[in-house]
């Protein structure tokens, strides 16, 4: 067996049993692994209408064929489940070292079913599986849980866990691994919490077999060379981390500020990657076999830990009107400890600030620091309260959409399909906005990062205000991203590598016969099954939309002044390119062409 381990671990938490099944290699070839194979398996097993927090929902942890292999950045895994935040398919990706270790422990996939009657954790050591009591770690923050379990399960064990936010079923709860890496988005931590599953610990020594070691050596060194020589992956990201984006996004006038009421932050320099490196950076960190090392490790006062990422700095910084980088680092620290998605958590605080300033949230309701834009104490305090569901934090734990809805103004939530939009104002980046609107898991920047061509000029520079060709770019980026997410590699490799490189890597590891075209096709197949899941779960195509503010309120100042997003001009072309109906529904012809219909008939 090459690349894959060929084994699926199925754990039933209700009767505390498990079994080991063979991986369906035919499906693995078609849907690759990670996000693609996980979605396919999930759809075959779970009713799309399932309540996300009920025992009938399943939690799939899925590696890719390159996870644990020697390929650069080959350490990633995907959590696939139904999202309690959006009701869509959720697939949340994480790096660090846990994913590779799961392969070394002997499995490609873990399927977690049902709910334990008491808190438990799963230990998987070289193929031996145990479901153990977790009452002593229930309620504990992520770093403490990790320390306890590493001790309990022995040297070199890797811990994936939820924090208090997941236990308390926050719709913004992340699953954390290696203390500060997160399968962050879509509330996947709450699904784990709903099953009374605190953690999964993995440890193993079985290597990932490679079909063509000589061939891999060659493509490995070619791709490594491309990564090292590329300005972004060889220099920008290693030197400044993702926070290097703060200044460039702001200089373009698309850095959302005060819950997207403005898109230029005159205090951005204070929270930039350059300032972070100068004042707070202790060291950089890399995930498994990553030559890029974009991770940061920062210290402020008595607090130190992994991060913050660009997205976090923005969400707790400009979007909350905050320019105290030290306190943003502290808010990030508490997100990691509580197990919260930093994007959704920060944007939810920003939404609360707008609701407060506009008089919807009244003083007597809130039991803490006033939720005012620019209040840099508020971002720390409310993150802790949100994680613990304490006082008004209980409402924040529901996410920005449900929060704004409680006050009768859901349109003040800057979200798509109820998931908070990340750090780029689509009014000034038209293609990226189309990608936000059509993302199958709701507001998201890693489902097709059109910032690359529209702002960064990679692989070529596009005019960010023009609509021409943007639907084609969006589709291509979405499809390629779906394939990379399924291989088990980090999306940041795509600054330097193309579909042909990914095909060569998987072929050398697995002995497959992929080409650049078949990589794109696999990605398109994955995109289509995700859409099918959403439709069956009741998420209508009309949910492919943006918040009213971004469609109707022009950017008030700065370099992108006067722009709104022109989604209705872009959507018809996009649907046509996808081969979907005018209403945004995959057609039988396209499903046939992608080989999806035959799988559905069998399922």
């Amino acid at each position: 067996m090459f690349g894959y381990k060929g084994k699926v671990l199925r754990v039933n938490l209700k009767d505390r049993t498990y079994k080991v099944e063979d991986l369906n290699l035919h499906m693995a070839k078609k849907y690759i692994g990670g996000r693609g194979l996980g979605t396919k398996m999930f759809m075959d097993e779970v009713d799309p209408k399932v309540d996300a927090l009920s025992p009938e929902n399943k939690l799939l942890v899925v590696t890719g064929p390159l996870t644990g292999s020697p390929t650069p950045t080959g350490g990633r895994y995907m959590v696939v489940t139904k999202s309690p935040l959006t009701g869509t398919i959720a697939s949340s990706n994480s790096g660090g070292f846990w994913g590779a270790q799961l392969k070394f422990a002997g499995y490609d996939v873990i399927v977690v079913e049902e709910k334990a009657d008491k808190p438990v954790y799963i230990s998987i050591v070289d193929g031996v599986v145990e479901i153990r009591d977790a009452s002593h770690i229930w309620g504990k923050v992520v770093s403490e849980t990790t320390d306890v379990l590493e001790k309990e399960c022995g040297e070199k064990s890797k811990v994936m866990t939820i924090g208090p936010a997941g236990e308390k079923l926050s719709r913004l709860a992340a699953i954390m691994n290696d203390k500060d890496r997160a399968a962050g988005r879509s509330g996947v931590g709450a699904v784990m919490g709903s099953k009374n599953l605190k953690a999964i610990v993995v440890k193993g020594s079985s290597k990932v077999e490679v079909k063509d070691p000589d061939g891999l050596k060659k493509v490995f060194s070619e791709s490594l060379k491309k990564i090292r020589e590329n300005g972004v992956t060889g220099q920008g990201l290693p030197t400044y981390g993702t926070a290097v984006l703060v200044n460039i996004i702001n200089e373009n006038g698309v850095l959302p500020t005060n819950n997207f009421q403005k898109s230029y932050d005159d205090k951005a320099e204070a929270i930039s990657g350059e300032t972070l490196a100068e004042k707070y950076l202790v060291k950089k960190e890399a995930c498994y076999r990553c030559p890029i090392a974009c991770g940061r490790y920062c210290k402020v006062d008595d607090i130190e830990g992994g991060g913050p990422e660009y997205e976090t700095i923005w969400a707790y910084g400009s979007d909350c009107g905050v320019s105290n980088l030290g306190n943003i680092i502290k808010a990030n620290y508490w997100c990691n400890e509580m197990g919260l998605d930093t994007i959704s958590a920060g944007v939810t605080v920003a939404t609360a600030m707008e609701l407060y300033e506009k008089g919807y949230i009244r003083d007597e309701e809130i039991d803490g620091t006033p939720l005012k834009f620019g209040n840099d104490e508020a971002v720390i305090e409310w993150t802790k309260k949100m994680g613990l569901r304490e006082g008004f934090g209980d409402k924040l734990a529901e996410g920005s959409y449900r929060l704004a809805e409680m006050y009768g103004v859901p349109e003040l939530s800057m979200s798509v399909k109820k998931q908070e939009i990340p750090a780029y104002d689509p009014r000034g980046i038209q293609g990226h906005g189309l990608q936000y609107a059509t993302s199958n898991r709701g507001g998201c920047h890693v489902r097709g990062y059109l910032i690359s061509p529209e702002i960064l000029g990679l692989p070529e520079k596009l005019d960010r205000f023009k609509l021409d060709g943007k639907a084609t770019w969006a589709k291509a980026f979405q499809d390629l991203t779906a394939a990379i997410d399924s291989l088990g590699l980090c999306l940041f490799t795509s600054f330097a590598l193309g579909a042909g490189d990914y095909a060569s890597l998987i072929n050398a590891v697995c002995g497959t016969d992929h080409t650049a075209d078949s990589i794109f096709e696999a990605g398109e197949r994955i995109w289509n099954i995700e859409k099918l899941f959403n439709l069956e779960s009741g998420v209508a195509p009309s949910e492919d939309k943006l918040p009213k503010r971004l469609l109707e309120e022009p950017i008030p100042e700065g370099p992108s002044k006067g722009w709104v997003h022109k989604l209705s001009d872009l959507l018809p072309e996009y649907y046509e390119l996808r081969g979907w109906s005018k209403e945004g529904i995959p057609t039988d012809e396209r499903l046939e062409k992608l080989g999806i219909s035959e799988d559905m008939a069998k399922a």
């Binding site: 920008g236 200044n247 320099e269």
Partner: protein, 74 residues
């Protein structure tokens, strides 16, 4: 009047965050970049007033330049 030049990331090394140039007829980003001893191939993004810039566009009163090496993230 001055033209403000904003430098970012590694381009700041030995140059600072902002540099000002006296505005005179025919002053272009290309001239400024040469004066600053920056290799053109080290520049990934050049903005004039926050919009995609052109190396040879003569600068005007009130213009500001933002110059970046290759940067990226997510």
């Amino acid at each position: 009047m001055n033209v403000e030049v904003r430098l970012f990331a590694t381009l700041r090394e030995g140059r600072g965050k902002k540099v000002y140039f006296q505005l005179k007829a025919g002053l272009t980003p290309r001239i400024i970049i040469k004066e600053l001893n920056i290799q053109e191939e080290d520049i990934a993004i050049l903005l004039i007033n926050g919009r995609d810039g052109d190396f040879d566009r003569p600068l005007m009163e009130g213009d500001y330049l933002s110059i970046f090496p290759p940067v990226g993230g997510g």
